[in-house]
């Protein structure tokens, strides 16, 4: 009898201790604010795997925006809290959405940075009939599926392409002494929905609206390309003035490094997005060799905060200060996440409800001009849940001595572009 009793005690003691520990750990310190409780939303980002480097920056941006939101009264009178989920690939993304809805009971999910993840995640969310709030992801097909409760705060690949071509045709071409239809353009892109979406939209606009001459188009698989020599040789043969390139990460670094080795001479390289050429890793890897490369991003150094509305200025300054303190520098990932989450707060303030119908009405009723809040954005959503390109102001940044600085539009920045057109490699500073 005694032995059995001892065995039972031993059997139950471990789970009991664990339960007590969990109980103690779940007690949270009471916040200083007067909240009527907490409102939980789901956050879905790639925190492990090949996209983790950017997913983590998004999460940081969300956390900082959340702090600021809670300082200003939270959402719907409640403190905003997160249920964070990791989505390293599309399958995990869909599974995590299911888990967030069924086990964490969230009604709104925010995410997910990557064009390869947002489709799967938003479809899963739509099946549960909850709200899916995307803050990044540029696949153009995302907004074309007729899903009523799926939204996106950032412009899509079409928007990226629109700005890339706008910059090249209206600002860069005159500076190079050519008219847009005299420019020879080559396109080089990684082959995911992000690269393809942006490149195809850019090709279309370049040809149809500005009659730019397309000399070469090439897609490659970012993760498995170990050598760009064949592409470089083709480009040398084609002799473009402008190279519009979309990279994913490591491929951009390898390409530009080999471009120097094989002496590829172009007048400018224009890219878009915070991955590839616009990633801080690009500058860190290549140092001075990165100088002169353009990337379309959220506003960086040189951004004239005074060009924003007074409210926008306050938000922008507060956000930047906190991000710099925590992460050392403000990256595109932070800015997209922060602005996206802040926009969610604006919607919830108006709707005062997470009922999908009321939420949707609030979303469609918003109409703020450029310069209203973070990143100099405005807001106006279209029927398909996409925030309009003209309101989501984007900026062209250029690598200058290890930093990506804002050079366009000129009215928003103090910096100007340098070194255009590119001199021969051995003469570059």
């Amino acid at each position: 009898m005694k032995r059995r009793a001892l065995r039972s005690i031993r059997f139950f003691s471990m789970p009991a201790i664990l339960m007590v520990c969990v109980g103690i750990l779940s007690l949270k310190p009471v916040a200083g604010q007067e909240f009527e409780g907490a409102y939980k939303i789901g956050i879905l980002e790639p925190l492990t795997g090949p996209l983790a480097f950017e997913g983590k920056r998004h999460l940081e941006g969300f956390e900082i925006a959340r702090e600021m939101i809670n300082e200003q009264g939270g959402v719907m009178g409640k403190r905003l809290v997160f249920a964070v989920a990791d989505a390293p690939d599309p399958t995990a993304a869909a599974n995590e959405v299911n888990r967030l809805v069924t086990q964490e009971g969230v009604k709104i999910i925010v995410g997910t940075y990557s064009s390869t993840l947002c489709g799967a995640a938003s479809s899963a969310a739509a099946r549960h009939n909850i709200i899916y709030w995307e803050t990044s992801c540029v696949d153009p097909r995302y907004a074309q599926r007729g899903l009523k409760n799926v939204y996106r705060t950032e412009i899509d690949a079409n928007g990226f392409a629109w700005y890339m071509v706008e910059f090249t045709a209206k600002y860069l071409a005159p500076k190079l002494g050519k008219s847009p239809d005299e420019l020879k353009v080559a396109f080089l892109s990684e082959d995911s929905s992000y690269g393809q979406g942006t490149t195809e939209a850019a090709r279309k606009r370049a040809k149809e609206e500005f009659q730019m001459q397309e000399v070469s188009v090439d897609y490659y698989a970012a993760l498995t390309t170990n050598d760009f020599t064949p592409i470089l040789l083709k480009l040398k043969q084609a002799g473009p003035d402008i190279l519009m390139a979309i990279g994913r990460g490591n491929d951009a670094i390898l390409f530009w490094k080999q471009a120097k080795e094989k002496d590829l001479q172009v007048q400018a390289l224009v890219s878009a997005g915070a991955t590839g050429y616009g990633s801080p890793d690009f500058g860190k890897a290549l140092g001075k060799d990165a100088n002169g490369v353009f990337a379309l991003l959220e506003p960086g150094p040189g951004f004239k905060i005074e060009a924003l509305s007074p409210e926008g200025q306050q938000l922008e300054r507060g956000f930047r200060e906190r991000v710099e303190k925590q992460a050392g520098a403000v990256y595109g990932g932070h800015q997209l996440a922060g602005a996206g989450l802040w926009l969610l707060k604006i919607v919830l303030d108006k709707a005062q409800s997470d009922d999908p119908e009321k939420f949707r009405q609030a979303v469609l009723s918003l109409d703020l001009p450029v310069g209203s809040f973070l990143n100099g954005w405005g807001v106006k959503f279209q029927e398909n849940g996409q925030n309009a390109g003209e309101r989501v102001q984007h900026y062209m940044l250029q690598w200058q001595d290890g930093n990506l600085v804002t050079v366009w539009p000129e009215e928003f920045t103090t910096y100007r572009m340098k070194w255009m057109p590119f001199p021969p490699w051995d003469q570059r500073q």
Binding site: T48, G49, P50, A52, F53, K56, D191, D218, Y219, Y220, A221, L223, T224, T225, N226, D227, T229, P230, I231, L233, K234, Q237, G249, N250, I253, L254, K257, K260, E261, K262, D263, D281, K284, A285, G287
Partner: protein
């Protein structure tokens, strides 16, 4: 014409890189017939070793190479005892599951320890390019190629002409008979596995000046390594070298002529054709492909 020479040079150098990646796998999969899907992760660990040695102690990767050998041998022995010994005699499915698990564990260990940021070994001379035979050649690539060739030839000689090599091949061909001949298969497996892991680590150190270092860096190479090993003929070092050159050549020429999106289609097509007509691989022994099944 310049273009042709450049493509040829690039094919050779890239072939050298692929050969380097495949040496270790030829030993482990080709000779021992043990499936190791964590092969790419050991390459990644070698890259990180070079990165940290360079960043913290300012050591040249080629110096790090020297003490990476005993380090990876030790890792190989340790991992063999912890993970591989139990599955050496098991079916290939078990080996695949176990080594895929090992691969995921190592990738995420690297992610936790060193974050997902891309790291670089920026040597003063990693950008040195010189014109050779009407094409541009990158110095670290050339060194990697040279060392790959030496390594492959050494291992080939070892397996073909030394007693140890004979013992290794015997154990792979028939474990029971080897035991009867007085060979301790466990010892041989441990040694070969450790040697294979060391080759992968060495490969990682050598390519660190060329590619970014990040937790999933191994994925770039592991599938190609498998193709090379099977294409060349399981267990044949010269075959693996030949396989690397063919894969690299098809990739480079195909990318230039058809577009980079086609490269994998092309070398897998070559792979399929070779296997249909020569199931043992290009230089493999007929019937050898059934060993270790």
């Amino acid at each position: 014409m310049d273009i042709f020479f450049q493509l040829l040079t690039t094919s050779l150098l890239l072939g050298g890189i692929y050969a380097l990646m495949s040496v270790g796998l030829t030993l482990i999969f080709g000779v021992m017939r043990v499936v190791n899907f964590a092969h790419g992760e050991f390459i990644m660990l070698g890259m990180y070793l070079a990165f940290w040695g360079f960043t913290l102690y300012h050591l040249d990767p080629y110096v790090i190479l020297l003490f990476s050998i005993p380090l990876f041998l030790a890792i190989g022995f340790l991992l063999y005892g912890m993970v591989m010994r139990g599955i050496i005699a098991a079916s290939h499915n078990v080996q695949i599951f176990t080594t895929v698990g090992l691969s995921i564990a190592l990738q995420n260990l690297a992610l936790v320890l060193w974050t997902g940021d891309f790291r670089f070994v920026r040597l003063d001379y990693s950008k040195t390019v010189f014109r050779f035979w009407r094409s541009y050649v990158n110095l670290p690539q050339l060194i990697a190629f040279a060392i790959a060739a030496v390594l492959m030839l050494t291992l080939f000689a070892l397996l073909r002409w030394t007693h140890f090599g004979k013992v290794v091949r015997a154990t792979a061909q028939d474990r029971e008979a080897a035991i009867l001949m007085g060979i301790d298969p466990d010892r041989i497996h441990r040694l070969t596995f450790a040697m294979g892991i060391t080759c992968a680590g060495v490969a990682g150190v050598l390519v660190s000046p060329l590619y970014s270092v990040y937790p999933t860096a191994g994925l770039q190479f592991v599938l190609i390594a498998y193709v090379v090993v099977v294409l060349g003929g399981l267990g044949n070092m010269i075959g693996a070298l030949l396989g690397s050159l063919i894969v690299a050549g098809v990739e480079v020429m195909g990318s230039f002529l058809l577009g980079t999106a086609w490269k994998e289609v092309l070398y897998f097509l070559v792979f399929l054709l070779v296997l249909i007509f020569r199931p043992a691989g290009l230089l493999g022994q007929r019937g050898a492909e059934t060993l270790g099944a």
